[in-house]
Each structure stands twice: as C-alpha cells, then as structure tokens.
C-alpha cells in the first residue's frame, strides 16, 4: 500500500454518517476503506481528524494562473483537489495568435488579471484546445475539468464579427465542429455569458449569439453528455427566472445538464430568491436539469485607487478615471481642485457607503493609527467627511491605501444556510482565481465547514461534504471522484473539524510582473492527497508530486 490513513473520522461524500476507519491507497486509487491491515509506505495518523474526498470547485477562473502555477495556489491548501476553469464564456483556448491580446483584454476587464501577468507569466505556445491541455498538463498538481468559452469559439470562427452580429449557418456549423474538437480534447462543457463586458466596456462575443446558436451548440454538448454553464443577469429576479426557463428548455430539448451562477441571497429580496428556487423546483419536476450555484462567503469588496474597482462601476466619472488612468493621472485627478470637486459631487449621494468603509492597509507610519477604523471615524478625527478622507488618505499613500467594504450582501446566515442545504442548489460560484484585486476568492469551503457547519450548525458535516464532493462530481459528470470508495481515484482532504476555517484576507505580491492579489490562508486543513500522492501538508508545504489530471482529456 502506498499510503494508509489511520483512524480518521471518515465522511465519505455520500451523505451517510461519519465513522472511524482507515483508508488504503495504492496506484493512485483508493484500495480499501474501513479496516486496513497492510502497512503503508507512508502512514498518516488521522486520529481526531476528518477524512473526506477532495473538494471540487465548479466555478473558477484559474485559466491564466495554471500557466505559471500548476497547483492553482492557494486552492489545494484549502482542501480543493479539482477545479473547473473556463467559466463565464472565457477560456484561453481555442485561441488564434491574432486574437491573444483581445482575450487578454477581456480577462483583464472581467477577472482583473493584470496585463503584465500575461506578458511576463505566459509563453504563448498553443492555439487549439488540445494544445492548451497539453500545455497545462506539464507540472499539473491540481485536477482540472476545463470548460470551453462560447466567446472564444466565436472569436476563432468569426474574428472581429464575433462582437458585431449573429452567426451565419456556416459559422454556426464551424463553431459546432470546433466545440466537438474541444470536447474530444477534454473540455467538460461549454460556458456562456449574458452579462459580461470586454475591455472597451462593450458586450463580450457570446452576447451577440441568438438563442438558435446556443441551441446548436447544446446539440453538440448532448452528443457528449456535457454541461452548459451560464452567467446570467443575477441582479434581477425576473431576468433570472427567464434564464432558468431558457436553460430548462435547452436541458429538455437536448437532455443536458445546465447551471447558472451566481445566485445571491440579499436581505430585502428573500421573496425573489424563493420565487427563483420555486421555478427551479417546477422545472426540475418537469424533467429539466438547471442548477443554480450559491456561494458560501458574504460579499465584500476591497480596493485601492491604484487599480479599477468593481465598487465604482456605477460611478461613471470615477470608473473612467480608474479604468483608463495610470497612478499618476489618478493622483492628478484627485489633486486637481475642479476635477476633485466633480468626483466628490458624483459620489456624495453614496455617503452612507463611504462612511462604513474600513481602512485596512497603508504604507506610511503616520497613517497606521487609522488602520481598522471606518472612514466615518477617521473623518471625525480629521475634521472632514468620509469621502474626502478616502481621497486624502489615497493621496498621502500614493494610492497604496486599501479599503474594504464589508457586508455588501449575501450575509444572512439562516437564509444563505437554508439555500446551501437546498437539494436543488449547487454550492459553487467561488470565482476562484478571478477578481484578484477586489476580494479573495479562496477559502469558501473552509467558510462553509467552519461557519455554517460548526459554528452555526445550519448543515451537518456529512451534508456539506456531499455538496462539495460527490454532488458536484455527479452534476458535472466527473467520473471516479467525489467519494471515498474502493476503486475511486485517491483525492482526499484531511482536516480538523474543530478548527477548519478561512484565514483573514491580505494583499500579497505573487502574481507575475510584480502583480498583487488578495488571498486568504487556510486554517485546519492538514493533508491533501491528489491522485494517490500527498500534494500538500500543512507542516511540510507542497510536495514535488504532480499527479493532477485534465479530467476528460485522453491520457498521454
């Protein structure tokens, strides 16, 4: 036996009650569960610890990061062993050389992946999906079940016209055969978007497709029994219900699984959320498969003025300054009396928001005294208002002042908890690897198991683990993973149920080209096994094992 895990509390992913037992692993697979008498080359004592299948994160944007980091750090540290990149109509393949900069612009706009990271972290040596799969398979530590993006299929087939019009019958047929090639090469499904914007703040290519085009692509998904993921108009209940009906129709016509994300649960609109779920249940009763994804973490947004922030997307004057400016021009805008006045005027109506922002990180010694205080408190101390305090601090810190807007919604524990438990809800939508300059997308599973399971007791451990392992594997048609069962691939997470959690968010410089991102460390995750080898240990760090697979790709 290569590895034997002893005396753990086994939560096997099926939802059945935990029990004490051993797990024997050989040749990458689970060989025995229960009592294991054979010795392991490696013995892991899991006494007092929980042993579960590795977590599956179905909504990520680790596409770019996988090119320089085959472990998708810090996903594995949090217990995640399989990720689905390529969501929301965007994947890095298939991609013609001529379209690279266009796609980089979209990734930059939508996922906040800095341009310089692509310049310095990426050698562009692929065009087809198959070439991309071979590329990331080198040194892969985490398992990857990649979606192919609808916007990218359009770009390949239609070029510039992808952002101008619907496809002709010939172009639709070409997209169909391109999609077949991607599915043959290992794509787990197709993603599309009804809401995203490109780098010029214009709709992404998938939004120029009519329903007939999407229908034609779903016919190809049906040939392969693969899934359709969409990002819908999540800010509006009626539009969300309209999209559920559209997905239900596609699901019934083609007998495919569909999923939409994100579904946020905001105070003041529980009734709307209940209508959405009621519609899902009705459509499911009619035979359709439509899975809404609900994230575990509450919404918060961190920002500095050095980079454009989602928080300002509705303030056109501010967003323009941040989106199209450089640090020097942004500083100049704040220093110019007339321009500053204009910006202040535009944002004054949102004073209640500015007042609640918390200063979380600064560079100068002089301003350390304000860290942790709200802008209202700081304004009071400085004899100004919150908005002007935010601008002044940003100027004093050469824009390196970081603020957080906490409590922006999706934070009613009872209601979110009841949704996370709901049999028609998929836990997902972490957006791992995206929005790296607005918030940390890592640690949602720790938050689920620490906050909702242990502290609030809104789900049992068995229910929660099932939701993020075997349920996800079933819905996404990922074979041989998600259960601790003889014959299954040995993707296993060992953690301390008494301490598991997500750590505090912090700003770190670890993106190629001296780029930054917000991350969170894991708490309580001890050992993570991928493909039958220890990939991460909380004391030893990452191992040299690279057993990650592109799920669905032909074995090379």
């Amino acid at each position: 036996m290569d590895i034997v895990i002893r005396n753990g509390s086994i939560v096997d992913g099926s939802g059945r009650p935990a029990y004490i037992g051993d797990i024997g692993i050989s040749a990458g697979r689970i060989h025995q569960v229960g009592h294991v008498s054979a010795q392991g080359a490696t013995e892991i004592d899991a006494t007092g610890k929980t042993v579960s299948p590795g977590f599956i994160d179905p909504h990520t944007h680790f596409d770019a990061q996988l090119l320089w980091d085959g472990a998708a750090k810090p996903a594995i540290e949090h217990g995640v062993t399989t990720i689905v990149p390529g969501n929301c109509s965007l994947s890095l393949a298939p991609l013609k050389a001529a379209d690279r900069m266009k796609l980089v612009g979209m990734f930059n706009q939508i996922e906040e992946m800095p341009l310089v990271a692509f310049e310095q972290g990426v050698t562009w040596n692929w065009e087809t999906f198959d070439e991309f799969v071979s590329r990331i398979q080198q040194d892969l530590t985490i398992n990857v079940a990649p979606l192919v993006g609808h916007s990218v299929l359009r770009l390949w087939v239609m070029g510039q016209a992808a952002t101008e019009r619907t496809a002709t019958a010939t172009e639709t047929a070409e997209m169909q055969s391109l999609l077949r090639q991607c599915l043959d090469a290992g794509a787990i499904g197709l993603s599309t978007s009804f809401v995203d914007m490109d780098e010029k703040l214009q709709p992404v290519p998938s939004r120029y497709a009519d329903h007939a085009e999407l229908d034609a692509l779903c016919a190809v998904l049906a040939e392969y029994n693969r899934i359709l993921q969409v990002v819908h108009e999540f800010y509006d209940i009626d539009l969300t219900i309209g999209r559920i009906d559209q997905l239900a129709e596609l699901s019934l016509t083609h007998k495919i699984t569909t999923t939409l994300s994100p579904l946020f649960i905001n105070r003041g609109d529980f009734e709307g959320v209940d209508r959405v779920i009621a519609r899902i249940v009705e459509q499911n009763a009619a035979g359709a498969r439509v899975w809404p994804q609900v994230q575990t973490r509450p919404i918060d947004i961190s920002f500095s003025f050095a980079v454009p922030s989602l928080l300002f997307i509705r303030l056109r004057g501010w967003y323009r300054v941040m989106r199209f400016g450089t640090p020097a021009t942004i500083m100049a805008a704040f220093q110019d009396e007339a321009q500053r006045q204009q910006l202040v005027q535009e944002a004054t109506s949102m004073m209640p928001l500015w007042s609640t922002l918390i200063l979380r990180q600064v560079q100068t010694e002089a301003n350390q005294q304000y860290v942790g205080k709200t802008l209202a408190e700081i304004a009071e101390l400085r004899g100004t208002d919150a908005l002007n305090a935010m601008i002044d601090l940003s100027l004093e810190e050469s824009l390196d002042a970081h603020f957080i807007s906490a409590d922006m919604g999706h934070n009613d524990d009872d209601k979110v908890g009841s949704m996370l438990r709901h049999p028609h809800v998929m836990i997902g939508a972490s957006d791992g690897g995206a929005h790296i300059l607005s918030f940390s997308t890592y640690g949602d599973t720790g938050y689920l198991l620490g906050h909702f399971v242990r502290d609030k007791q809104l789900l049992s451990m068995e229910e929660a683990i099932k939701k993020i392992t075997s349920d996800t594997a079933d819905i996404w048609a990922i074979p041989d993973r998600g259960l601790l069962k003889s014959g299954y691939i040995a993707d296993i997470t060992i953690f301390d149920a008494n301490t598991i959690d997500r750590g505090p968010e912090y700003y770190v410089q670890d993106v190629p080209g001296d780029g930054h991102r917000y991350v969170r460390d894991a708490i309580g995750v001890e050992t993570v096994i991928i493909g039958g080898a220890v990939a991460y240990d909380h004391l030893l760090g990452y191992s040299d094992e690279h057993r990650g697979q592109v799920i669905g790709a032909p074995q090379r």
């Binding site: 952002t163 101008e164 019009r165 619907t166 009804f194 010029k200 703040l201 214009q202 709709p203 998938s206 939004r207 120029y208 497709a209 009519d210 329903h211 085009e213 999407l214 108009e233 509006d236 009626d238 539009l239 219900i241 309209g242 999209r243 009906d245 559209q246 209508r275 009621a278 519609r279 009705e282």
Partner: protein, 75 residues
C-alpha cells in the same frame, strides 16, 4: 406554478419598433416602444455601441431577454 413574467428572445434584426409591432400589436407604435423601453431598463439604459459598430443605434443584443409585459407587481 409561480407566475413568470412574459419575455421573448429577439431575432438578429429586432428593434424596439419591430418587437412592439409584433408583441404589442394592439398598442399604438410609439406607446408600445415606450412601454418596452420602460420594462427593459437592462437593455434601454445600456451604454451605446462603439461608433462604427453595425449595432450602433440599437441597444438590443441577440442574446437578450426582452420583457413584453410590465413587472408582475405593477400588474
């Protein structure tokens, strides 16, 4: 069954006028257009297409859902 607000998928060449003529045939055209616009702020309030785009002047995208009745609360 829950009540679902009626919507359509536009065709590639649809405009406010063509949808109003079809979906609100009994209503005078400008009134129909004005109603559609007020029921579909997600489309009507959209930033205009870049100059030179074939879609300039028409904010409706082929992937949009267009409501052809007011919000249910208003009914």
């Amino acid at each position: 069954m829950i009540k679902v607000r009626k919507s359509i998928h536009p065709s590639a060449t649809d405009t406010w006028e063509s949808i109003a003529a079809r979906a609100l045939a009994a209503t005078p055209l400008d009134e129909g257009v004005a109603s559609l616009q007020s029921w579909n702020l997600h489309v009507f309030s959209r930033a205009p297409a870049v100059p030179g785009s074939p879609r300039a002047g028409n904010p409706i995208l082929p992937s949009d859902l267009i409501f052809v009745e007011p919000p249910l609360l208003a009914q």
